[in-house]
Symmetry: C2
Subunit: 321 residues, 2 copies
């Protein structure tokens, strides 16, 4: 990693040894990487006619995940959650930088963390190109992901933003929601149990392929990290519209716990709008979980729930505090 | 920032309000930024025929700086230390992402932090294009900086690496070293005192202009963050050479404390090699603090000290542990 010894992990293994053993091999490579780990900085050659899409996502032990969860699960979740922002923009992953603050440098833990990180990196085809390792009281993982987005033939950005929704556009969700939120009691009780809903918590699906297909089709898009209803509010505000959502249409991981599903976080489904229902219908052949949940209207900026589920509170989102 | 509410800072002000108030205005802008703070991810348009240079640097309270230091000083130092890696590669800054883990969301502290960050960002001409704000036990600041490096007319990388030094190259340092290390007792005793050597600790000079001028002139380059002697070892190893350094030639902040100056960290001077002493002599007109400190030789990989100062230990570098 573009790394300094001012952060030497002195307990068990030194930082350079740590990086060499756990972060320098068996990760996927990127043809665009000129210099990765080992110099003052990484160097990447952008492909012609592309934009660079970037997001940084931090996860803190006992805030975003149980500190006692197996390290490979923590790593997989951290990289997947970060990469979800690339999917939400329609980008293709290129690489990531990892800033890891560790309470101790335990070689066993690090080997396990590295295994999980590699697994997720290979699945997402994202290269580890740099990082920093420091000592702190608490495990803190910041993942800075980046990817490319091809410009169209007019050199116009194809980024899927939150602000492009128009009145009349249909609102879609990429799949059922709520599983990650419903997994929380189990995850907190037994962090190593990856059965049932915990799959959705530790291995959130990163909708890269769908996001890329939505270029030029979706008018707005975001990933759902704070609960569908709260996140729909972001599109409503950014686009200056009313998002009229019918809770009956939303596919929930457990229809008996609809309120929790609609307001729970951590699902990382894509929430998007489109004026092109025919193309979406074609996409649904490949992505059958995509389903309509409402429509965009002129009116006060915000989310309105239609149908009989009026007991659901639209304003409450998921908070880790 | 490309931000999620899963990190809402609930004590005093919410995260969205925090970002809006302290991180959305009065920062320098970048003509290459297409989308900055406010969507799932930032979008940047790379200029043609450039490489992207990136580094992430983490600073932890009471590991890398006193937790009680004024927030504007912490912020300035964090951004400057991170940007120094861009200087070491010869790059021109474009933007940065900020991952801030806070023990509390104190508006007064944040306003002060933001002020310092803006000051450094303007001086370095680097735009804030995204970030993440989370809650944790301890203040942790990760700064992911990036910049551009123009390809030469043959589309060859101009990056200043650690591995290009050749036998016969002269070794240079960009200025006197040791001030930041000598400042530590004062910084730890009274973190708000910025007199004397503390200037070097809180406001390390980022040698962007020199780094850019060294393109095609220096055969290797890095910034000194762990002490000159230890960092010289990195160039020696990466280039497979003996770096023969004469301690008498090294300009120290306090010649009476040479050992501390040569092994102390945090200076962020550039250490570089060149086979082109005439061009360096010209550069010294503009950068008079640049001085020769030794020569690269074939031989065992490592650093050898010449001259009478044999009591100086070449292997010891600065460690925060």
């Amino acid at each position: 990693m573009s790394k300094k010894t001012d952060d030497v992990l002195s307990t068990n293994i030194g930082e350079f040894e740590l990086i060499r053993r756990f972060f320098c091999s068996d990760f996927p490579s990127s043809p665009d990487t000129v210099i990765a780990i080992g110099d003052d900085a990484s160097v990447v050659k952008p492909p012609p006619n592309t934009e660079l899409v970037q997001s940084i996502d931090t996860q803190v032990a006992d805030v975003h995940f149980p500190a006692t969860a197996p390290a490979h699960l923590i790593a997989q979740r951290a990289l997947r959650c970060a990469a979800s922002d690339l999917a939400a923009m329609g980008a293709t992953p290129q690489g990531f930088h990892l800033a890891l603050t560790l309470p101790e440098s335990n070689a066993h833990w690090l080997a396990d963390f590295s295994d999980g990180l590699k697994k997720a990196a290979h699945e997402l085809q994202i290269a580890l190109i740099g990082g920093d390792t420091t000592r702190g009281k608490q495990l803190v993982i910041s993942v800075a992901v980046q990817g490319w987005l091809a410009l169209d033939s007019n050199s116009t950005s194809q980024a899927l933003t939150r602000s492009g929704a128009q009145a009349g556009d249909v609102i879609y969700c990429s799949g059922p929601i709520g599983a990650a939120a419903l997994a929380l009691p189990q995850v907190l009780h037994n962090p190593a149990d990856i059965s049932g809903f915990a799959q959705a918590y530790y291995f959130p699906k990163v909708h890269l392929s769908l996001g890329q297909k939505l270029q030029g089709v979706a008018s707005s898009c975001m990933d759902i990290s704070d609960g569908l209803l709260q996140d729909a509010g972001h599109i409503a505000r950014a686009s200056g519209l009313t998002l009229e959502i019918d809770p009956e249409k939303i596919q929930c991981a457990d229809p008996q716990q609809k309120q929790q599903c609609l307001t729970g976080g951590d699902d990382y489904q894509l929430l998007f709008t489109s004026s092109n229902p025919d193309t979406i219908a074609e996409l649904q052949q490949q992505f059958p979980a995509v389903h309509q949940i409402g429509v965009c209207k002129k009116g006060p900026t915000g989310v309105i729930l239609t149908g009989p589920s009026s007991e659901i509170t639209a304003t409450s989102g998921f908070s880790h505090f």
